[in-house]
């Protein structure tokens, strides 16, 4: 019964520290991981042969998305995701950013931003900021303070701040405020530079997971939360000290692959205070109000955008991979994101985690076959079947949602009052939220197959209830006669 002794520290060629957002020096120490990481610029869609066009547009693939997002930046441009190395560039050029004023919080998940948060936070906290101090330690207090401080700034302002923070490579030139380059997610975002241990760095996640730990969601897939609760739920749940290593192999991804609020009415929020299920997240948004100017008043109820075709205030779901995975059989069986998306590979006389983070379907042998001893073709077929069922239901839910838009438009044109429309709008919000939740999740149902179908079933139910509600209005005397131009 011996405790496992620690690994001997990795041999280092160069030192890296808490400002080393540029992955190059890390790469000297860990050439294999770095080489893999660089492959995340390669992409099946677009990147072979050096062609770096943007990935396919989801709006073109699924035209109903345009109607779903009517009135919101996502209706302008929305594409397939691609490798990590692209994340910053893709954000910089998306028309969602170039044509719409976005918040600085967007960079929380698209840049290696922690040293910048720390720098601004240290200033806020009146701590002395020198290159050495900045590089010294993680300084969570300062990181949190910086995160909050920039939350009201614009995308451009925060982007500029990134370049005012040293990145461990660029040398400061006298009088030049440009101290480092901006980088997409990098080694430092998931690793402690001293020990290489996994860690989570993102304030959004640190706050979110603590809310979750304090909720009563059972989260059987996260045993360290059960343990923390059992010990009395004291203080904050801190994943960096409390979580198991296997949990961290998912938590590092849960820093970004999650549903969020990210605009200028409040700080970036992960809505986990009731749990991780689709209705738990919805319940948080339902009970959120935006901070009001006037401290005495309760603010306006939360919403993401006003749906243009119908005038309803609705929520936008974004890539809830972590949340959906949490409801699936793999999470339940202790299988982490890294198990499938960063499987071990044999390299010479050792094994390393593949840092070419990508679809496991391009790497079935290592990603799945260690656990599932069936042929690649069979694995592919099983995934196809699950995704196919999900796709069919997405189409069905999309048909219902768009018919609903038509029905509401017609009802409004026929003179339905806001009061009459209130219950219908509530149904609409629920229907759109559920459809978007699964459509914006990137595994097409694989991460939790039955749960995905359940959520889509509910979406369909709510859309069609709303439609029936509209038709009922029309036959009710209260509604004014149609104005003639109803479609």
């Amino acid at each position: 019964e011996r405790k496992q002794e620690a690994r001997t520290p990795f041999v280092r060629v160069v030192e890296v520290d808490e400002v080393s957002t540029d992955p190059k020096p890390w790469g000297l120490n860990f050439p294999q991981q770095y080489e893999d990481y660089l492959k995340t610029v390669d992409d099946e869609y677009t990147d072979y042969g050096g062609n770096h066009a943007l990935p396919p547009s989801k709006l073109e693939e699924y035209p109903w998305l345009k109607r779903l997002f009517a009135g919101y930046a996502f209706s302008i441009e929305y594409r397939e995701a691609r490798g990590h190395a692209h994340m910053l560039a893709d954000q910089e050029v998306t028309r969602r950013v170039t044509e719409v004023q976005q918040a600085g919080a967007c960079l929380h998940c698209h840049a290696s931003i922690i040293p910048t948060y720390r720098r601004i936070g240290m200033e806020q906290l009146g701590q002395e900021v020198t290159a050495a101090k900045l590089a010294e330690s993680f300084n969570q207090e300062a990181v949190m303070a910086g995160f909050k401080a920039v939350s009201q700034q614009t995308y451009e302002e925060v982007h500029a701040e990134l370049e005012k923070t040293p990145d461990g490579v660029v040398e400061a030139a006298a009088g030049d405020p440009h101290l480092g380059n901006a980088h997409p997610v990098s080694c430092i975002d998931c690793h402690d530079p001293k020990t290489m241990a996994l860690r989570v760095t993102r304030p959004g996640f640190l706050i979110g997971i603590d809310k979750l730990a304090n909720s009563d969601d059972p989260v059987p897939h996260l045993p360290s939360i059960a343990k923390w609760r059992k010990a009395g739920s004291k203080g904050t749940y801190d994943p960096n000290t409390d979580a198991t290593r296997q949990e961290l192999r998912s938590f590092v991804c849960g820093q970004c692959h999650v549903e969020y609020y990210c605009a200028n009415k409040m700080t970036l929020t992960f809505p986990w205070s009731n749990g991780l299920k689709v209705e738990d997240l919805e319940a948080e948004w339902d009970s959120t109000t935006f901070p009001s100017e006037n401290a005495d008043e309760t603010g306006e109820p939360f919403y993401d955008y006003v749906h243009k075709e119908t005038g309803t205030k609705v929520y936008k779901a974004q890539h809830p991979e972590f949340e959906l995975w949490s409801q699936g059989i793999h999470a339940r069986a202790g299988v982490s994101c890294a198990d499938c998306h960063m499987p071990y590979e044999k390299v010479g006389a050792t094994k390393v985690s593949s840092h070419w983070v990508r679809s496991p379907m391009t790497n079935i042998n290592k990603a799945c076959q260690t656990c599932h001893k069936v042929s690649e073709q069979e694995i592919k077929d099983r995934v196809d079947l699950i995704q196919h069922r999900t796709s069919d239901l997405i189409d069905r839910a999309a048909a219902a949602v768009t018919e609903m838009f038509d029905a509401i438009i017609a009802a409004r044109e026929a003179g339905a009052s806001d009061e009459q429309l209130k219950p219908i709008r509530d149904l609409q919000r629920k229907a759109m939220w559920r459809l978007d939740f699964i459509a914006s999740e990137n595994s097409k149902g694989f991460h939790a197959s039955q749960e995905s179908a359940r959520i889509l079933a509910e979406s369909i139910d709510y859309s069609r209830q709303a439609i029936a509600g509209c038709y009922q209005l029309e036959s009710e005397p209260a509604a004014e006669p149609a104005k003639g131009d109803a479609s």
Partner: protein
């Protein structure tokens, strides 16, 4: 992360309801160990020790394990596993350090005899957390260099369970 625990030192059968009606509680077994150990071991224990060719339990030959027919499945699945030509039962089920090896032999030997004689164990048999730690330590003992990056970065921290991914190395079809 959860029940099939990837954490080496997590109590694996946590959450399993004490099924008092059907099988003796663990406490009962422990109490037995203390109070009846001498008497029983000399009585029933010796009977089984003889019947199960107990002396051979102390050897390294897998055949000795199937002196008890309840070990037959494990023997069969071991024979079909990738390890049957590189590791015998004791290579995986006994710690690779001297003291641990003999403590485990005595301990398991006693419990196997007791369980076999008294019945009431699970069928299929389920390995207990203590013995899971043993198998984990033996994997590492043989594969230490190869799996070096998987070891904890900081002494005392946990690591992944090898059988989380390699469930069938010792026993095919697990």
């Amino acid at each position: 992360m959860s029940a099939d625990s990837s954490q080496t030192d997590a109590p694996l059968d946590e959450g399993q309801p004490p099924d008092e009606a059907k099988r003796p509680m663990r406490f009962g077994k422990v109490a037995m160990t203390f109070f009846v150990c001498l008497g029983l071991l000399a009585g029933v224990g010796t009977f089984t020790f003889g019947y199960g060719k107990g002396a051979s339990y102390l050897s390294n030959n897998p055949e000795t394990c199937i002196n008890c027919h309840v070990m037959q499945d494990h023997m069969d699945s071991w024979q079909q596993s990738s390890h049957h030509h590189v590791a015998v039962c004791n290579d995986c089920h006994l710690p690779h350090d001297f003291v641990g090896k003999w403590v485990t032999k005595a301990d398991n030997g006693f419990f196997h005899s007791l369980a076999f004689t008294m019945g009431g164990y699970k069928d299929p048999i389920q390995i207990k957390p203590r013995n899971q730690r043993v198998t984990q330590s033996t994997c590492i003992s043989c594969h230490k260099d190869f799996v070096h990056p998987l070891l904890p970065a900081i002494a005392g921290h946990d690591m992944l369970s090898c059988v989380h991914c390699h469930a069938d190395v010792g026993h095919a079809g697990r």
